[in-house]
Symmetry: C2
Subunit: 202 residues, 2 copies
């Protein structure tokens, strides 16, 4: 499914569909399992996408055990509980607020980069922002693997942080159900703002 | 360029390279102009990617006039000024902190969604987070158009906000140079955390 305007893109039309046009947020999944090798392939792809100063705050907790699922479900909003219980795989995406400790090895070009984040509020804000960029790349990576993502923001964030990290140094960004979309997996697609509502020129 | 692990992906290998593996942040560009029709095609693609409650806080200011470029340059950090002056096109990506006004039309499934963001701090945080997701999609959209992105965080944010919006309702997220990469456009790619440093299983 292409439109005339999509011809201006270098990305082939099948890839456009897979990542953006036909991909949809899923709320129901088939029973087909999602293997670790798929998540490895996703990470191996999306890890290349850019962040500020090569910051890499994103952390992923794969919830595979029944016990882990129960621990997560109690913190999910009620409306998200059934689908999170049923999804083949659930991933907790979080930001590591101590990411700056890695900058000496991850961004050696600027030796003082770590010091720039000496104050906790600044590095927490940066972890959240760059973690969000990485979460967006990760969602598209799930689609690149031929899977559907069901990202959710409805949970008790403090509860999830304490339950799965407990060190006060991680902040959950979103919880994502992952799998092959099942029957009636998606709501009708919502509207989008027009180009002229979003883009202006000076 | 594929690795064995990339075979686990549904996305074709050329698309993997275009968006992630071979694409690089660019600091130098050719003189080839970037037309409005390319930005339209990018938006028409990436607008489909998901956010929470179909929030669409992202706003894009294309800086095309010499006057607009001068107005921006004065707020850029010195290290970003020359490349921002020379790029074929510069886009200011910002979050509209009043995005909740659009929720009655953009997320009609939940009529009370707008009220959820009645308090400014909550909607500012949500605009920044979902705007970051949209900015990440936009960066990949630039690459999907066969162009290189040079996203920057080094500027006086309050200065940019006042200069280009002035209504107190928008917050700049990043400034992005856009064009075909020129000679020596990129630094050597930095390291990435390993899968085991990022992903755990419970």
């Amino acid at each position: 499914m292409t439109t005339a305007i999509s011809d201006a893109l270098a990305l082939d039309s099948a890839a456009q569909d897979l990542l953006f046009r036909e991909a949809r947020t899923a709320n129901a999944f088939t029973d087909e399992p999602v293997g670790d090798e798929q998540i490895q392939a996703i990470y191996d792809l999306v890890k290349h996408a850019p962040t500020a100063m090569n910051q890499q705050p994103l952390r992923v907790v794969l919830v595979r055990s029944p016990e882990g699922r129960e621990r997560l479900l109690q913190h999910m909003n009620e409306g998200n509980r059934a689908k999170t219980a049923a999804a083949p795989l659930v991933a907790i995406l979080a930001a590591d607020n101590e990411f700056h400790e890695e900058l000496p090895t991850q961004f050696p070009a600027v030796p003082q980069a770590k010091d720039f984040f000496a104050e906790r509020p600044r590095r927490e804000a940066s972890a959240r922002f760059n973690g969000a960029l990485q979460a967006a790349y990760f969602i598209l990576g799930i689609r690149a693997a031929g899977l559907a993502a069901g990202p959710m923001g409805g949970y008790d964030a403090a509860g999830v942080d304490k339950e799965f990290f407990g060190d006060g140094e991680h902040s959950v960004l979103m919880v994502v159900n992952i799998g092959k979309p099942g029957e009636n997996a998606s709501y009708p697609r919502g509207p989008r703002l027009s180009y002229d509502e979003v883009v202006t020129t000076v």
